[in-house]
Amino acid sequence: MTKQAQPHMLLRTYPGWFYLPAALVFGVFFLVPTALAFYFSLTRWTLFDATFIGLDNYTDFVGDSQLVSGLRNTIIYAIITSGLKVVISLPLAMLLTSSIRLKALFRSIIFFPVLVSTVAVGITFATLLRPSTGLINTVLGSIGLQPPDWLGNPNLALYSVALVDVWKGVGIAMVIFIAGILSIPPDYFEAARLEGGTWVKFRHVILPLSRNATFTVILLSFIGGLRTFDLIWTMTHGGPGFASDVLTSVIFKQYQAGFYGLSTAGNVVLFILVTIIVYPLMRFFNRLELEL
């Protein structure tokens, strides 16, 4: 009983109004703007005035032909990036937790892109991927391949950006996996070593026991993929035409055009959409969470 009471007593010695500063900051900079956003999404907002127009912005936004392709692209992008990040970073994490030389160096190299600003990555890759003068196509051309126009081909642009996103994000996924693998009790590895080789270790120890890490990676990169903006904007501006437009870039273009109410409505739609997709996923993963 005393063990339980101790921290409880400690908590009580701090009065409730200690919450106030944090609540104030949270309220002013977070709750109020969010509530205002919901209100302004119902207006025609020109900065000089805002006229209440009911749900017109929502019907406009939903009736927008760009929205459909934007939505499709967003989901494709989120699935590709989160899927590839798991598939690539799990084996990497396994490799870099085993006893190999230069382990720390390789970990740093793979983690490095995470530290670079996304905008810088976008601009750099846009240059590297130029069709005839870019480094990547020059190299591919010199070994006799017929390289595509990565960002200029409307059928390819979205996937090219997704691959760059994977390159940039694989480091953070790998770190999460490394943490997951290192938290597996060594007894299991011992047993796997007696049972068989690397495959057994991977299939029957690491894969099932790093499930929490896998869920975290999938969830984080899926949400990241749904909300992606900076990389797409710096690499293609949603183009060519509308070929790589995602929800956020559609919304941003509305904002740029001065349709503030419409763009706010778009953000509310995005918010609801992400909630609808991610919340059940999160509940599902939480149910399957492992206690090691």
Binding site: T51, T234, F259, Y279
Partner: protein, 463 residues
Amino acid sequence: MSKRTSLLLALVILMLPLLAACGAASAPTSVSPAATTTTAAAPAAATTAAAPTTATTSGGAAVTLTYLADDSQNTQDTTKALAAAYMAQHPNVTINVEARPGGTEGDNIVKTRLATGEMTDIFFYNSGSLLQALHPTDTLVDLSKEPFIANIVDTFLPTVSQNGQIFGVPTGTALGGGILYNKKIYQQLGLSVPKTWAEFEANNEKIKAAGIAPVIATYGGTDTWTSQLFVLADYYNVQKANPTFAADYTANKVKYATNPAAIAGFNYLQEGNQKGWYQKDYATTTFEQGLQLLADGKGAHYPMLSFALSTIATNSPAAVNDIGFFGVPGTDAATSGATIWMPAATYIPKTSKHIAEAKDFLAFIASVAGADTITAKVPPGGPYLIKGAKLPDTVLPGVKDIAAYIDSGKSGPALEFLSPVKGPTLEQLCVAVGSGQMTPQQAAENYDKDVEKAAKQLGLPGW
């Protein structure tokens, strides 16, 4: 993780997108050229002969005027030269030019400063449809009773007016919108300037056969605005076919998708794609690369605004005299002409603390001396809209071509100077048609929807 905390975490994570789209990003993707680069070393003699000033402020108390202008080299040179020349004549007045970003980001800065009452004493901004979005009758000082308005060429005034009031004076030159072409290629292949679209097609076939890209398209990076010229610069032909187009368009009575003359520009974009007129890698070529292709003779035509001539003068001074200009050809040789872009203007917000002094400075801008001051610093990309202001004899050949259209009365302003309505996604739609992802019909229909949104935003009647 308990259920409660995970729920909270989920909420926090999910709220992020709301904030994400509010900040960040700054790419200038305006429909008007956002960043014009003009650094041709013009003689720095900024001080010119006395200007016909209307008020008598010399000798008065010391006054400081602040002057907000976009940060392009062209605009900064223009506004600073004007300020320096004026200050030399009026020692009691100091004018400080402040820079702001161009493009859409600049639009938002101007709107925000006006809405919050923190605008500078005078400011430089686009005329035409962009001005209308500033609600000028509420925010700007009416100049219609000022004597210096009489110095301004009449065709300019509607582009800075609302409800019968006039708000700005032209600052800089008008521009031609049409096709820049390489005269050397025309000489070598024995071609002549096309007066109809059919002639243009025939020229393009010969140019293509000679191994040169007939038309330069630059859809790369932030330069997608360049894709719109076939549509926007075709407006002279549109209004020849439909004399009341601008009024009907503003009143929601005519649509791009259902008007054969209006949709022609979209058809041209598709034709260029289907007939292989565009150069290799057009999807990623940038504006400056496009100008280089034209100057080097690797591309024959570039649909563009004439301010680009001064960029060529800077980057390829040897080639700029080989670059000419013609308007987008239409169906009938007898009615061929060119579309004109009006200069930006200088305005006084109602919140200015020195309205009398600001008006006197505007009188200087709207004088021949003001125009000469600009010419001394920035090579003109077209004619001034100040009565009596002349272009120097050294003006670029392409600009002479534009002046010829204007002098012979075969020119008219672009739609954005006649109607307050302009849809914001035109550049993406043009790229989509020009790169074969969309048909002209689809693009025109999408554009009409876009226009509807913009018109509703302006609160126009009939939408």
